[in-house]
């Protein structure tokens, strides 16, 4: 029976010097990019889901007060009328300060206190059976409240399509990065075998058979790819931790809302790179041996 321990000593597989180190760096960077695009996809997927849910589960009603009542009173009547509609979980009249906060991103530093702000009622709808804009408007009319419900359904589909687009684009980025990494692994495996042709020939003449040489190449190239894959995934893990632990500190945190368990997606990556390298090493060494057997 073959004894792998006799073969895997570093002395039978020349170290490779600068070429090997450069290959490890390239593979680490490629792994990092692939892992980052994977995290971006997971984050974008969650963000798109959150946005779509928010759009379909929320609505806003704009209330216009009558001449004989205050804005706050009109908003309270509107909220009461809307809360009784089937498919509405909650209807809350917004305070002026909340309305100002909503407008602040659009109007900047303008003096909002002097502006006649609309009275708004925020609605939280039943996710399973949300109330329609028609039934909500009818409820306002029946209660004698002059108001309009913003019909999200008019642009909900466009919004969902945009969310799906973001998700698909990040998935495409993952696939492209993974394909480029796989190509880098295959090319570097082939190069590693060619660079060690003299050593492989020495071992072959010393009695190493095809399975022994194949095992040797698979072991060393697989191990290198696992190391580079782990390094790349490790760096991506650090970036993911920063996003997951401080999600509200920047735009990235809002666009890619990661949570800690998302980082588990990175765990198999070193195994993936190692497996790819083992297959690539097997094919490369078989090609080389084929040439030798053919007298090449």
């Amino acid at each position: 029976m073959r004894r792998p321990a006799l073969l895997i000593g570093p002395d039978l597989w020349p170290e490779g010097g600068a070429t090997r180190r450069l290959g490890l760096v390239v593979l680490t960077v490629m792994s990092l990019l692939t892992a980052l695009t994977l995290l971006a996809h997971v984050g974008a997927n969650r963000a798109a889901g959150d946005w779509a849910r928010a759009v379909s589960h929320e609505a806003t009603a704009l209330i216009r007060p009558r001449a004989d009542e205050s804005g706050a009173t009109a908003a309270a009547r509107g909220a009461e009328a809307l809360a009784g509609v089937r498919g509405v979980h909650e209807a809350v009249a917004l305070e002026r300060s909340e309305a100002e906060a909503l407008l602040r991103p659009w109007l900047g530093e303008a003096d909002l206190a002097t502006l006649p702000l609309p009275q708004l009622v925020r609605l939280r709808l039943d996710p399973a059976e949300p109330a329609s804009a028609v039934s909500l408007n009818r409820a306002l009319a029946e209660a004698g409240v002059d108001g309009t419900v913003d019909d999200h359904s008019l642009w909900r589909e466009d919004f969902s399509a945009a969310a799906r687009g973001v998700r698909d684009l990040t998935l495409l980025a993952v696939l492209v990065a993974a394909l480029l990494t796989a190509t880098a692994i295959v090319l570097s495996a082939r190069q590693a075998v060619e660079n060690r042709a003299a050593a492989l020939q020495a071992l072959r003449l010393a009695g190493a058979d095809d399975p022994a040489l194949t095992f040797l190449a698979q072991w060393h190239l697989g191990r290198d790819a696992a190391l580079a894959g782990a390094a790349g995934a490790g760096l991506a893990l650090l970036a993911g931790l920063a996003l997951a632990l401080a999600p509200l500190t920047g735009t990235l945190g809002r666009v890619f809302p990661l949570i800690l368990t998302d980082l588990v997606w990175l765990a198999p990556w070193p195994l993936v790179t190692a497996t790819l390298a083992v297959v690539a090493a097997r094919l490369s060494i078989r090609l080389w041996l084929g040439r030798q057997r053919a007298g090449g």
Binding site: D11, A202, G207
Partner: protein
């Protein structure tokens, strides 16, 4: 299980088939070519008998190294059959192929050694790659180095050796598994007269102890190196011709 060998006990024919069926090498209709030289070998038939000393000659590029490679199982013929010790080489797989390889000692032309290894480690490589643990075989290693006269160089790095020394290490390495058939491709090429005489003397010693030897020699004949009883095989235009035995 390891088999302990000593310098005085090298290359004795051991188990395996005896007689015609178990001759070390039988080539039947072996043909080989490539794009640049489609008729390099044309229907070679050859039987190498047990215990014989064979000179395989031919001009450079005639296909001598190729034929040695086929006998060692390293090169696959386009057509024909290579039978080693009664077994079709093309049919051997896994353990059987490894066992067969251990019965053959190969000294290739300009035999490459792993330059970073010591001489002793270079010998141990043969054991390792054929699945045998070199630990416990230190005495055999020492015996081999003593046999080729390199006992004091065991710790030298292979990359620092002269061509003649490298050739001797290659011979010692080839002997580590106690082979019954020794294939030496141009073992004397590039050696000075004294080194060539020493190398040939070692091959003769192994042959006297029972090993079958096939060695190649560039040119039309073995010249002064041939002795009475040696067999001469000559490759010419893809064919093997056999002049009369050396008298």
């Amino acid at each position: 299980m390891t088999r302990t060998i000593a310098a005085s006990d090298l290359s004795r024919p051991t188990d395996g088939l005896r007689g015609e069926a178990g001759w070390p090498v039988r080539l039947r209709g072996v043909t080989f070519g490539h794009a640049g030289h489609p008729d390099l070998l044309r229907g070679i038939d050859l039987t190498v008998t047990t215990g014989s000393f064979n000179f395989l000659t031919g001009r450079s590029g005639a296909g001598k190294s190729l034929l040695i490679g086929m006998m060692a199982g390293l090169v696959r013929p386009d057509a024909g059959q290579v039978v080693l010790f009664g077994q079709d080489r093309a049919q051997l797989r896994g353990r059987e192929a490894r066992v067969m390889r251990r019965r053959i000692g190969l000294i290739a032309q300009d035999d490459p050694l792993l330059a970073h290894l010591s001489v002793a480690d270079s010998l141990a490589v043969t054991l390792r790659v054929t699945g045998e643990d070199p630990r416990g075989r230190e005495a055999d290693l020492a015996a081999m180095l003593d046999f080729v006269g390199l006992s004091d160089m065991a710790d030298r790095t292979a990359g620092t050796l002269s061509r003649a020394e490298r050739r001797l290490v290659a011979l010692a390495r080839a002997m580590m598994t106690g082979p019954e058939l020794i294939l030496a491709d141009e073992p004397l090429a590039g050696l000075d007269a004294a080194s060539a005489k020493r190398m040939l003397g070692l091959l003769r010693t192994l042959n006297r102890q029972g090993a079958t030897v096939v060695m190649t020699r560039d040119g039309d004949g073995p010249g002064a190196e041939a002795r009475k009883g040696d067999r001469r095989l000559h490759l010419e235009a893809g064919r093997l011709v056999e002049p009369e035995r050396t008298r």
